[in-house]
Amino acid sequence: MAAYLIRRLIQAALILLGVSFVTFLLLYVLPADPVRQIAGRSATAETVENIRQQLGLDKPFFVQYARYLGALLQGDMGRSYLQKTEVAELILSRLPATLLLMLGAIICELILGLTMGIVAALWRGRALDQTLMVTSFVNVSAPQFVVSLLLLYVFAVKLGWFPIGGYGTFAHLVLPAVTLGILGSGWYSRMMRSSMIDVLRADYIRTARAKGLTRARIVLRHALPNAILPVIAMIGIDIGIFMGGIVVVESVFGWPGIGQLAWQAIQRVDIPIIMGVTLVSACAIVLGNLLADLIAPLIDPRIKLR
C-alpha cells in the first residue's frame, strides 16, 4: 500500500510537471504579447522593452520556464501581470467559493442522478426508463451556458425564487450548483442504472425475493447499498468534469471562484494567473483520481492496489 502510494505520488508529480511545461509552452508560443497588454497603447517602445526585461520575458523559453519552476518549488506562484497581486492570494481568496460550488454540485448530481438511475433500473425497458435515459443524455450534452441562462431566466427573473447571480447565501448557491449538477446527473444516472441492474440480477437478490421479502425492502436494504458504492467512488473523477463547467457557470452566475479568475486572466493574457489556476486544477484532478482509486478497494475488496 505504501509503495503504491509513493509510486502514485511520483506519477502525480510527473503529471503536474508535464502540465506545467505544456501550459507554459502554449502560452509562450501564443501570438499575443502580455507586455503589450501591460504597457497599454500609449506606451513608447522603450517602456515596452523595459517592462519585458523586468518581467524576464526577453529571456529564452527554457530560462523563463526554469525560473518559473524554481520559484514555484519555493512556493512562489508569482504576481499577476496586471493586478500585481500575488497569484497565490488571488487563488486562495477564490478557492472557498469554488469548493463550495463543487460540494453543492456533487450533492445535487447525486440526488438527481442516483434517483433517476434507480428508478430507471427498476422500470427497466419501460417508457419511464427510456424517458429518463433520454433526459440524462440531454443533461450530459446540453451546453452549460444555455442551461445556466435558462435556469437564471426562469427561476430568478420570472419566478423570483432565487437571486439573480451573486454569492453569499444558500439561495445564491442553488442555481449554479443545479446547473453543474444537471451535467453530472447525466453520468450518474447511467452508471447507477447499470450498476443497479447488475445487482438486481445477483443471486442474493433472488434469494431475498425467494424469502418473500417486500420489493421495497429488497431494493432499499439489499440492492441499493451494493449498487451505490461503485458509483460513489466516481466522485473523485467528477472534479475533472467540473473544471470545464466551472469556468462557464461561475461567469454566468457571477460566482467568485477560480473559474471566473481563469476566464478573466485568459482574456488579459495574464500568464502567472493562467499558470496558477491550471496547476491548481490539475492538482485537484490528480488528487481526485488518486482518492477515487484509494477508496475503490475499501468499497470492493476484490480490487487490489498494485
Partner: protein, 537 residues
C-alpha cells in the same frame, strides 16, 4: 523663487476661466445614500500609475486628484489640487500653486513634495506605468529612474515648478490624467506592490472594502477639499456580473448603473420600451472605429486603392449592424473632439467610382487580401459587411477572426493588410486632437509593435503636429485647432484609414439616480461622474 519670478518679468499669468472654477453642483441634490454599480470583470488595480482601462479609470478618478481636473460632464479643464498656475512665456516652465489644507485619506496634509514624488514615481521605469510616455515633455524624462525627474522641482511646500524640454500644448491635459494623480509616499512604500489594492489619495471617496472577485466599497471622504461633494455616502461595485444579468437586476431595482452598459443583444428591447428608454442617457464619445490600410503592403501602397476602399464601404449599413449605436464617420476625429472639421464630407459611398479608381491603379480585376478582426460580437458581423462591400468592387478579403491580443500583435508587426479596429478602436485619453495622431497616425507609432497599424508616416504632417503641440498659449487655441484640423484633412487625402463610425455612449441608470444627464455621459469619467451624482428619496 522670488528672484526667478521677478527676473522673468514676462511671466504669462493665466487667468483661469471663471465659469470653469465655479461649477455649481445640482442645487436639488441631497446628500446620502448608496448606489450599486456592476461589472463583469474584477477590478485590475486602483493604483493611478498603473490603472488604464475603462473600468478603473473613473474609480481611480474618484479616489485620487491631480493638479488639473475637468469641469464635470465636459472636456473643459479646471484646476484640481493646483489652486492656480503660471506658464512662462517660452511655454517651458509651469509653476503650480497648490491648494492649502488638502488631506490624504490617511489624514496627512498634501504638499509639493508629494507632487514631485508622484511624478517621479510614474516616470520611473521600475513602476512599469503604462502612462509614463505621456510625461515625455518633462525635462529629464529620458534619464528618469530612481533618482527622479530633474524637471520637477519643489519650490516651497505649496509650489511646484515643472520644466519642459519642449513646449507641449497638451501638458495641462496630461496633468489631469489619472497617471498624474498625487499619492502619499509613505502609503505607497508601506503597501509596496499592493498599493493598487490599498489606494490612498485625496479624492472624494476612499476605499473601504475590497473582497477580491466579489465587491469593492467606496466610502465618502468627509474631509474632501471640494465643499459640498460628494453627495453619496458610499458606492458598491459588484464584480463578476454578466452584463445581461446586470440588466435583469437593474430592472428589479437591485442595481443602479450596469458598468458594462446595455448588452448588444438586449439593446433593441430596452430602447423599444419607453419606460426603460427613459432611463438611458445618450452622449457622444471620444471614439472612432476605423479600418486601417497598411500602406507598406501592396496594393495598399497605391493611393487610388486606398481611396477606392474608402468609397466602397457602406458606413450607414455598418451602423445598422450595431443597432444604430453610432454615427457614420468621415474623418479620424470624432465630432465631440475639439479640432473636428465641420462641413467636410469625406469620401462618398460610391462603388462605381471605386471600381474606376481600381481600374486606374491597374487592378480592374480586383485582388485578394486579408481583413483582421477581433473575434467578439459584433466585430465579425461588421467584418462580413466590409467583406461584402469590398466584394462589390472586386476585392476578395479573407477574414482573419482572432483574439484581441493576436490582432494587436499582427497590427503592431505590420503583417496585417487590413484591420477592422472594433474592440480595440481608439478612445481618446484626453480631449485634445493631438491624442488621435501620434500613436495611431504619426511616424512614432509606425514602428514594430506600435499602434499605427497603417504604418502610415508622413514627415510633413509630423512636422505640423510638432508645430501644433508647441502652441501652448491658450490665446492661440483657435489657431492650433485649425492646424490640427488641417493635419487630419492631410491624413484623409492620403487615406491610410477608412473612418467608419463614432460610437455613442448609452448609460442606463435606475430611477432613483439624480443629477444632470451630462454626468452620466461624462467624457472623462465612464460610466458616471461619481463625485456629483446623487440619489433621490
Amino acid at each position: 523663487m522670488k528672484r526667478l519670478l521677478a527676473s522673468t518679468a514676462v511671466m504669462l499669468a493665466l487667468v483661469l476661466p471663471a465659469a470653469a472654477q465655479d461649477y455649481i453642483p445640482d442645487p436639488a441634490a441631497k446628500p446620502g445614500g448608496t448606489i450599486t454599480i456592476t461589472y463583469k470583470d474584477d477590478v485590475a488595480t486602483l493604483d493611478p500609475a498603473i490603472g488604464y482601462d475603462w473600468q478603473n479609470w473613473s474609480m481611480i478618478k474618484s479616489l485620487f486628484d491631480g493638479l488639473m481636473d475637468y469641469v464635470p460632464g465636459t472636456t473643459t479643464l479646471r484646476p484640481g489640487l493646483a489652486e492656480s498656475y503660471e506658464i512662462s512665456e517660452d511655454g517651458l516652465v509651469y509653476t503650480f500653486k497648490l491648494r492649502p489644507g488638502v488631506k490624504f485619506h490617511n489624514g496627512r496634509e498634501m504638499t509639493a513634495e508629494d507632487v514631485k514624488y508622484s511624478l517621479d514615481r510614474v516616470t520611473n521605469p521600475e513602476t512599469q506605468s503604462p502612462g509614463a510616455g505621456f510625461f515625455g515633455a518633462i525635462a529629464g524624462f529620458e534619464t528618469a529612474g530612481p533618482g527622479g525627474l530633474s524637471g520637477v522641482e519643489v519650490v516651497d511646500p505649496l509650489t511646484v515648478k515643472i520644466t519642459l524640454s519642449r513646449p507641449d500644448a497638451t501638458f495641462l491635459h496630461v496633468m489631469a490624467l489619472n497617471f498624474a494623480s498625487v499619492v502619499p509616499k509613505e502609503a505607497v512604500e508601506e503597501a509596496g506592490a499592493d498599493f493598487g489594492k490599498k489606494p490612498v489619495g485625496t479624492g472624494a471617496f476612499k476605499l473601504a472594502e475590497w473582497t477580491l472577485g466579489q465587491r469593492l466599497v467606496f466610502e465618502k471622504n468627509a474631509d474632501y477639499w471640494r465643499p459640498g461633494v460628494p453627495f453619496l455616502d458610499s458606492i458598491v461595485f459588484e464584480v463578476g456580473q454578466e452584463p445581461v444579468v446586470a440588466l435583469l437586476r437593474l430592472q428589479k431595482g437591485e442595481v443602479d448603473v450596469p458598468g458594462d452598459g446595455i448588452p448588444p443583444a438586449k439593446f433593441t428591447e430596452v430602447m423599444g420600451d419607453p419606460a426603460q428608454a427613459a432611463r438611458v442617457v445618450v452622449g457622444g464619445q471620444l471614439h472612432t472605429g476605423y479600418i486601417t490600410l497598411n500602406v507598406t503592403i501592396p496594393p495598399f501602397d497605391k493611393l487610388e486603392v486606398r481611396k477606392a476602399v474608402n468609397m466602397a464601404i457602406n458606413k450607414e449599413r455598418i451602423t445598422q449592424i450595431i443597432n444604430g449605436r453610432a454615427v457614420p464617420a468621415n474623418q479620424p476625429l470624432p465630432p465631440s473632439m475639439p479640432g473636428y472639421t465641420e462641413g467636410y464630407a469625406g469620401y462618398p459611398y460610391d462603388p462605381e467610382g471605386a471600381k474606376k479608381l481600381l481600374a486606374d491603379a491597374g487592378l480592374a480585376e480586383g485582388f485578394e487580401t486579408e481583413l483582421y478582426v477581433m473575434n467578439t460580437d459584433p466585430n465579425p458581423r461588421i467584418a462580413q459587411a466590409i467583406q461584402q462591400d469590398l466584394a462589390a468592387i472586386g476585392i476578395k478579403a479573407n477574414i482573419q477572426n482572432l483574439a484581441q491580443a493576436n490582432v494587436i500583435e499582427a497590427g503592431g508587426a505590420g503583417t496585417a493588410p487590413m484591420i477592422w479596429s472594433g474592440g480595440m478602436a481608439w478612445i481618446a485619453d484626453f480631449p485634445d486632437p493631438s491624442n488621435f495622431y501620434g500613436p495611431i497616425l504619426g511616424c512614432a507609432g509606425a514602428v514594430e509593435g506600435g499602434w499605427n497599424w497603417s504604418k502610415f508616416c508622413d514627415p510633413a504632417l509630423d512636422a505640423k503636429a510638432v508645430e501644433a503641440d508647441s502652441m501652448f498659449d491658450p490665446a492661440k487655441s483657435a489657431e492650433r485647432l485649425k492646424l490640427w484640423s488641417d493635419i487630419y484633412m492631410g491624413v484623409m487625402e492620403q487615406a491610410p484609414w477608412v473612418p467608419v463610425f463614432n460610437e455613442e455612449r448609452y448609460t442606463m441608470k435606475s430611477e432613483r439616480m439624480g443629477g444632470e444627464d451630462a454626468l452620466y455621459v461624462d467624457p472623462v469619467s465612464i460610466p458616471v461622474n461619481y463625485d456629483y451624482v446623487w440619489v433621490k428619496q
